[in-house]
Subunit: 249 residues, 2 copies
DNA sequence: ATGATAGTTAATGTCAGACATTTTGCAAGA
DNA sequence: TCTTGCAAAATGTCTGACATTAACTATCAT
């Protein structure tokens, strides 16, 4: 677990917290298992107890570990993790191989939420929001053909975050933090066919247009279309595209 | 601001953090203003620098304040607050007079999200989820007539949280934390007319029934109906109940 | 006068060591 | 067997000193 882990390049407290967090997020440490003692971790990473405790405090506030005096630290269950904490998003985004179940959960959320978000954006956006969207879209188009996957992903993140921002709602805005880890995790496994990228671009453009023209229902459907292909790949789409009554038990 | 603030009854670090946080959340300290120095706060609350720094660390992780060495601490803007942090929810829920704008923002989110949440719940809930809902509903009914507003609110929270849980999605679940502050803040100003309570109960029951019968679309509409009255009171409802295309700029 | 520069001050960040508190397990005794 | 008490081990807290950073200030050269 942690024995084979590389110490952080930067010796800062946040960097140390990221290393420890990723040991849990990568799925190696089962829920309920004991987390190493302070003393051992201090020696392992050659840091003072103070710094280490600061790092551990981050793991506690994000719900990754639970500490009790006299007892020790243990890894908490996935259901207790604060996935919406921005710190958590950073850690997840930097993960080479995030837990596929986590990726699915987050994407399932986006699939159910973003159509509504786009609808709200179409009702509440202003010129500033549209400028951000256009800028991000231009960036996506500019990095589509070439092999600049990383930069393309960043513009992709900026585009979707722009939609969340355009709702002008404090809560939805905060949720935009989830986008980076979600998008970063998915570009690893996507094909990057030229035609698929063109298609994806066109779908993004339709969302932007609907928001610009203040067509909430169109924006909702366009946002859904953006997420559909990946959702199908992840096995998240039901057979019937529209939910019907009398769903079987 | 903090000079006239009562020290926490319990001397624990979380309690101290709550006191400091509420000084900001109550809206007294404007964004960008300086937060008191460690030294002063230590004297004011008669705690060691260690405890105080722990408390301040909580304010930093929730995005309430920003600290830089040599410069000091300042209050951050509302848009930077991590409203989805469970700690934040606790602080908000304990607030006697939360900022009305914040209450509105959170409720506006719920109004746009909970119909979708109920729809998901109708598709994914199991017996355990339904038992929780029934239990909470029974609690609501049992405390409706009498003057047990506090307990009624708690059952109300449990009911809505049960819906979020029933989605069986990690992200939506986390969002259930927002319910307590939202509901607690709103019972203060609601009328508690007997007929209004009866009506509210009936609307809740319909949501539960739709989830039990696995009728997603019905659940969606029922959830919307639950939120509608309060939304109107808060001025969040548009004139036309269904959004139409060509929304004017 | 102005601008760069070095020193001063005041705030937060870090360290080290001792001590306090809590939990757990063990062991002796009623 | 149950209880009580003790000892060990972990996290939590306190204290004082020092490090680091950022803003301010005074000085000096141009």
């Amino acid at each position: 677990m942690l024995d084979t882990l590389a110490p952080p390049a930067d010796g800062s407290a946040p960097a140390l917290a990221a290393v420890l967090a990723r040991a849990i997020l990568s799925g190696q440490m089962p829920a309920g298992s004991d987390f190493p003692r302070e003393k051992d971790l201090c020696e392992r990473f050659a840091v003072s107890r103070n710094r280490l405790r600061n790092a551990l405090a981050s793991l506690v506030t994000t719900g990754l570990v639970e500490r009790t005096a006299g007892r020790g630290s243990r890894v908490r269950d996935v259901t207790d993790w604060h996935l919406l904490d921005p710190m958590m998003s950073d850690w997840l985004a930097g993960l080479a191989h995030p837990d596929p179940r986590l990726v699915r959960e987050i994407y399932a959320f986006r699939l159910s939420a973003e159509p509504q978000v786009a609808e709200l954006a179409a009702m509440a956006s202003d010129g500033h929001d549209l400028a951000r969207l256009e800028n991000a879209f231009a960036g996506m188009r500019g990095t589509a053909a070439s092999g600049l996957h990383q930069q393309h992903a960043e513009h992709d993140v900026a585009f979707h975050q722009g939609i969340y921002q355009a709702t002008h709602n404090l809560v939805w805005r905060q949720m935009g933090h989830l986008l980076r880890p979600s998008i970063i995790a998915l570009i690893q496994h996507s094909q990057h066919h030229a035609d698929s990228l063109e298609d994806s671009l066109e779908r993004h453009r339709r969302v932007m247009e609907a928001i610009r023209l203040r067509q909430p229902e169109t924006a909702r459907q366009a946002a859904r279309a953006v997420l559909e292909r990946t959702a199908t790949d992840l096995g998240l789409m039901p057979e019937s595209t529209s939910p019907t009554e009398g769903y079987p038990a």
